[in-house]
């Protein structure tokens, strides 16, 4: 087969495009094998979209979900500690969503049996916003909200 200059260019261009896609997080060659990453859920911009991506209905408000060691006012939006504890029996997963971030979902944790339904992490917040703790228990979704005021934004630069 003869390789023309045009072919080589085309191929080269293709490789770069793939590379860009991979960098943008659209094509994730190796991650799929280890554990699925729910791209749709992380791309969602509203609660409705997020619930759709997770395949659940509208979540019920719950008083059995508590925020622990989560501040009311965060001085630095780039590092906001968030802890979520669920007292709902058969909690399967806990997700942290931030209403006014570009994409709502910040993190989701699968809780296998034997693991306490309580996780702590740190998130970024672009501005003062409600944050939601979304809990899946026994196949149903529950939610609790908390407002955090941010003095200095964590997104943008």
């Amino acid at each position: 087969m003869s390789t023309t200059r045009r072919d080589v260019l085309k191929r080269g261009g293709g490789v770069t495009l793939l590379g860009l896609l991979a960098a943008a997080g659209w094509v994730t060659p190796e991650t799929a094998a280890a554990q699925a990453w729910n791209k749709n859920a992380f791309d969602a911009k509203t609660m409705d979209e997020t619930m759709k991506a997770l395949g659940g209905g509208a979540p019920a408000q719950s008083k059995d979900i508590a925020f622990v060691s989560t501040p009311d006012i965060a001085e630095n939006g780039a590092v906001v500690p968030v802890g979520v504890t669920s007292a709902i029996p058969k909690t399967e997963s806990i997700a942290i969503l931030i209403e006014k971030n570009p994409n709502m979902m910040a993190a989701a944790f699968d809780i296998p049996p034997g693991t306490d339904p309580s996780v702590s992490t740190r998130v970024k917040m672009g501005q003062s916003s409600n944050i939601y703790a979304l809990v899946k228990a026994d196949g149903k979704y529950y939610v609790a909200a908390k407002e955090i005021k941010v003095t200095l934004g964590g997104c943008g630069g």
């Binding site: 991979a22 943008a24 997080g25 280890a34 993190a107 944790f109 740190r122 970024k124």
Partner: protein, 103 residues
Amino acid sequence: MADPMKIRASVVGDSTEVKVLMSHEMETGQRKDAAGKTIPAWFIQTVTVTHNGKAVLNAQWGPAVAKNPFLSFKFKGGAKGDKIQITWVDNKGEKRTDETAIG
């Protein structure tokens, strides 16, 4: 290769508490550099924690998790000397696994 994770696992009552500090930029893809070009997103997407080979926590993260992510949780059981292994994979397919013994 990214720097090693700092993992601390200790027995608290009948549970084991695991605290992890990972070293990662967690670039959001929203920021622009000095020349006005968007800095591409680069963040950890999945985290798996196992105790003696059995999964005790699976996490999926978006770019809104803070830089150098912190994670803490507890699971039932676990004894001194048991192995805790943690693996993360980022959106570039880069991964890192570290392990520690419960102390």
